[in-house]
Symmetry: C2
Subunit: 233 residues, 2 copies
């Protein structure tokens, strides 16, 4: 009979969160995976997350639907076109694909899930290197969330501490991929594209595709997923 | 043409949040009201919130559905019986009606709504006097959320500040009611009961009913809503 520590892992079905799941399993956590469905474009991500969760033998996997009514102004949740062929190498502004308060909402649900599963550790694949334009991917934001979380909950009120774990936060995409490959992650199961074709091929042009392809290239590896077209338009 | 400041007001349809809405309107805010639907028991609250929002001429009212899958262990969201006839006057433990991370999730959506409506003020009717058992009703929790919110968002990243306003936090229920009455709040529109009858009568016995009735009594006023039975069983 094993006595492993429960943890919550936010699992989008993408490259980063799948690597995080592999890290949590390597570190001996019993994983409660949490995914979010927030718009038609991302149903495919939930399917990927289900397959990935299953392959890692997670204890429990929940896919929570996020109600979009309060949102707007983001290409991921409205009719604004996903930018293609943008030069992401020097992007320092907040991208228009930013979803208002997204990580705050995700982490809030994770905090609830942690409370009901008695987990003290919440894993999230945020990255401050490639996504420097997103305010809620910065270490100071994560620390502030953690501090708030320890005041918000019964566990925190009783002196137990919630820890937000961000094992990828200071890694480049190439380092994330190299780490994942060393842990045996099968990246063919993952999906990153903001705007895939009807048949599921990645577009190869959006910010997420460009970052992913550049990461595999820098890691000296080949991305195993299918692309409709590679390179800037 | 008026140039009022936009604010987000969390509006449950209960006594406290309706008083908060009246305060925000008195203070000249253009209100974007946000309600949450999280379970059959509370659909009636949404109806009350809609009527109240309409009567206060709010600019926009959204009712967001909260997916309950990650929750459990709370009488408000599962099949655990609502406690009746409990002595609430000396309750210092965390009540079982506590919903995991509830205010954190509510405030996270409010933060998203604030961002898309360009509001810098978020009003929430938390109260540290009558709800001292809830960790996420304490001032230190609210301050930690505010700090996190200012690191989470584009507005925060650009130096604008989000303020979480809690005008009721240090008031007794009687003081809240007296304040509301001085602002002309029609409490017959509000609903507080955790377990109303099929015809909408408040039970008169749950914690929320007891606190409400005691508040009206201490304020020297009569609660205008209908009760099935008043007093402890």
């Amino acid at each position: 009979m094993s006595h492993t520590r429960p943890a919550v892992v936010l699992l989008s079905g993408g490259l980063d969160s799948t690597t995080v799941l592999a890290i949590a399993r390597r570190d001996g956590y019993e994983v409660n995976a949490l995914s979010f469905s927030y718009g038609q474009r991302h149903d495919r991500e939930i399917d990927a997350a289900r397959r990935i969760a299953s392959s890692y033998g997670v204890a429990r996997h929940e896919a929570v639907t996020i109600d979009l009514r309060v949102f707007g102004g983001s290409a991921l949740t409205s009719d604004i076109a996903v930018p293609k062929g943008r030069d992401v190498s020097d992007a320092t502004d907040v991208p228009i694909t930013y979803v208002p308060a997204r990580n705050t909402i995700f982490l809030s649900y994770a905090l609830a899930f942690a409370e009901v599963t008695h987990a003290r550790d919440i894993f999230i694949g945020v990255n401050a290197v490639d996504y420097s334009g997103y305010p809620d991917c910065r270490p100071e934001y994560i620390h502030a969330f953690e501090r708030m979380a320890n005041l918000a909950t019964r566990a925190g009120a009783e002196g137990n501490t919630i820890t937000i774990r961000t094992p990828l936060i200071h890694l480049t995409k190439a380092q994330i991929i190299a780490l994942g490959m060393s842990l045996g992650v099968d990246y063919s199961m993952t999906t990153s594209c903001y705007d895939p074709s009807a048949t599921g091929e990645a577009c190869g042009q959006c910010d997420a595709c460009q970052l992913r392809l550049a990461g595999f290239s820098a890691a000296g590896a080949t991305d195993p997923i299918a692309y409709a077209r590679v390179g800037r338009a």
